[in-house]
Structure formats: C-alpha cells, structure tokens
Symmetry: C2
Subunit: 146 residues, 2 copies
DNA sequence: CATGCTGTTGCAACTGGTCGCAATAAGGGG
DNA sequence: CCCCTTATTGCGACCAGTTGCAACAGCATG
C-alpha cells in the first residue's frame, strides 16, 4: 500500500529546489514498505539489500531531508541510537524498561499531562516522537512471586 | 570540596570485590572537581589532561561501575550522546529546544505530572535523570516581533 | 613478604553516525 | 537537446562509544 505522500515526493522535493535521485528512490521504496520503527542502520541494511552500492552517509543525509519534509521523524532509543518513525502514524513516544528491556508506545494520551504542563508552565511545545522515557516497568519494580 | 562519598569510594569498591586502580583514581579526581553535566568524551579529555596515557574504554567502563554504585547517572542529549550527572545532586531531566539549541533543567517538580501519571496508569517508575525532552521553547514557538 | 585468584587494563577491531571535499549529475532555461 | 548552476554523491577521515581477548596487577590470604 503506497500512501499518496510517497507518490508526490519527487515533486515536493523539486518544488523546494531539491532533487529526485536513484539513491533517494531506493530509500523511499524501503521506507514505503516499512511500518512502525526502524533504526538508521536497519534502513542502511535494507537499502543495501536493494542496491549493494548504497553508501551510509547518503542514506543518513536523505533521512535528514525527509525529516524536513515531515515524511519521517526520528527519536533515540535508550542507548541513544536513532529510531525512525515512518509517517503517517499517530505521534507517540516510547517507554523503555531498563531492567527487562521491554518497550511500549507512549501515546499522546499517556503523555498528555506532561505535554500540557510544560506548555502551561513554560510555553514549551514537546516533540513527543523524539521522547524515550526510561525507567522500570510494573513487573520489574514489583516482582510478585506467587 | 570533596564530598564524603568520594573518600569512601575505594572501600566501597573493595567491599564489592572490585578494585581501586590508578586509572580509576584519575577519573574520580576529575569527577570530584566537576559540577553539573559532562559528556563522556569530555571526561575522557579531562582524564587525558591528568594522565595522557588515558584509554577511552577504561574511562567508559569505569563510568559504568560508578553508575552501578550510584556515584554518577547518565542520560542522553538531544543527539543521543551520553551526558553524566555527578552526584549528589537533585535528580532532574532536561528540556532542549531543537530550534535555538538552549537547554533547561527539568526538575522533579516540573515532571511530577508525568512521573505520577505513568506510575498510576502503568506502574512505571521513571528514571528522570535519563530523560531529555526535545521540542520548541516559548521564544521559538511564538516569535513576538515588537 | 610471596602466591594466586580474578577484576581490570590496553589494544585493536568494530558499530553507528557525521563531515569536508572533489567529482557527478539533476533538471530548469535557452 | 544542450548548458549551466548547484544539489547530491562517494569517499575517506573522524567522533563517540562498545566489545573480545590476552596480559597485567590489586588485594586477600597464608
Ligand atoms: Mn542510556
Ligand atoms: Mn535527536
Ligand atoms: Zn521491566
Ligand atoms: Zn528555542
């Protein structure tokens, strides 16, 4: 399933004086068949599977361009590594248990109190998709042995 | 000013079967004269200033050990790089404007609503010192030209 | 003070990503 | 269809760490 935003990408780029290249087409093809989260290096791998001549810096630079266009958003995992969200998708952050390693999505609803209070108290607008909250999940905090 | 926790460190290590080495002493000396935040590579540099033979992996491994002991905590800047908090210090996270690049501390008080709602709704205990919230600050969201 | 167990170091290779620069090639205008 | 401007690529060096391994050295013990 190809969403309309992928089809119009070449023109959206050209309208900004940017260019549509074979290397960008490879990455966009990979992204358009990706759902959920991907790390940068996973994207490099998948591009290399399509075109073995893929150069990492080209992929990362294209990801920057695509993020400017709003086509992807990046965040960072608990180790600081980049994670990309492919749009359109509900904006969300991540919750990560540093004890068992499990991750959960943090919906706008879950984060509402944070987003609201920062906006109210400081006028600060949170970029939720960039957020990863680390801590300990219920199961790891309270290991109930029956 | 050397806090008591620095002086007792050698013994705290030995009590755990760990060792007090010249390399660790250099790092601990550097840490004890550091206030606020430092990145990992800054610490490597400062250690190298004391002992030019400093090896990065040794510093990072020692930082891991010190974090287990609760002497430092790490978080990640907006770019994913490590940032260390030297204790004792009030636990806090960070707020970073991706537009102007300014950072602010995010106190437990500022984050209270988030911490509480995650604990209430999911039993999740937030490690605030690991959190960096990225977004746009009041000045960048609303550029009021007089 | 000598011995030995094992935690720690130094080193080198590797991962994920960034950067500067010269060569290449989109793609708009003539 | 050719030209020219300039965005983009490929490449190599570099930054921030991480990891496996063999050599080394704390330190507890006798
Ligand atoms: Mn981390
Ligand atoms: Mn980021
Ligand atoms: Zn857990
Ligand atoms: Zn700002």
């Amino acid at each position: 399933m190809t969403s309309p935003s992928w089809e119009s990408l070449p023109d959206r780029l050209r309208a900004r004086g940017l260019r549509w290249t074979p290397q960008r087409r490879v990455l966009v093809d990979v992204l358009s068949s990706t759902r959920g989260h991907v790390t940068g290096s996973e994207l490099v791998e998948r591009c290399r599977a399509v075109d073995p001549a893929t150069i990492p810096s080209t992929v990362y630079r294209t990801l920057d361009v695509l993020e400017d266009l709003g086509v992807v958003r990046h965040g960072h995992g608990p180790d600081g590594r980049e994670e990309f969200h492919v749009l359109p998708e509900a904006e969300h952050g991540h919750l990560h248990c540093e004890s068992c390693g499990t991750s959960w999505d943090l919906s706008l609803d879950d984060a509402r109190t944070l987003v609201r209070s920062l906006r109210a108290r400081r006028g600060f607008v949170v970029d939720l998709s960039h957020v990863t909250i680390v801590g300990r999940c219920a199961g790891c905090v309270d290991p109930t042995p029956p």
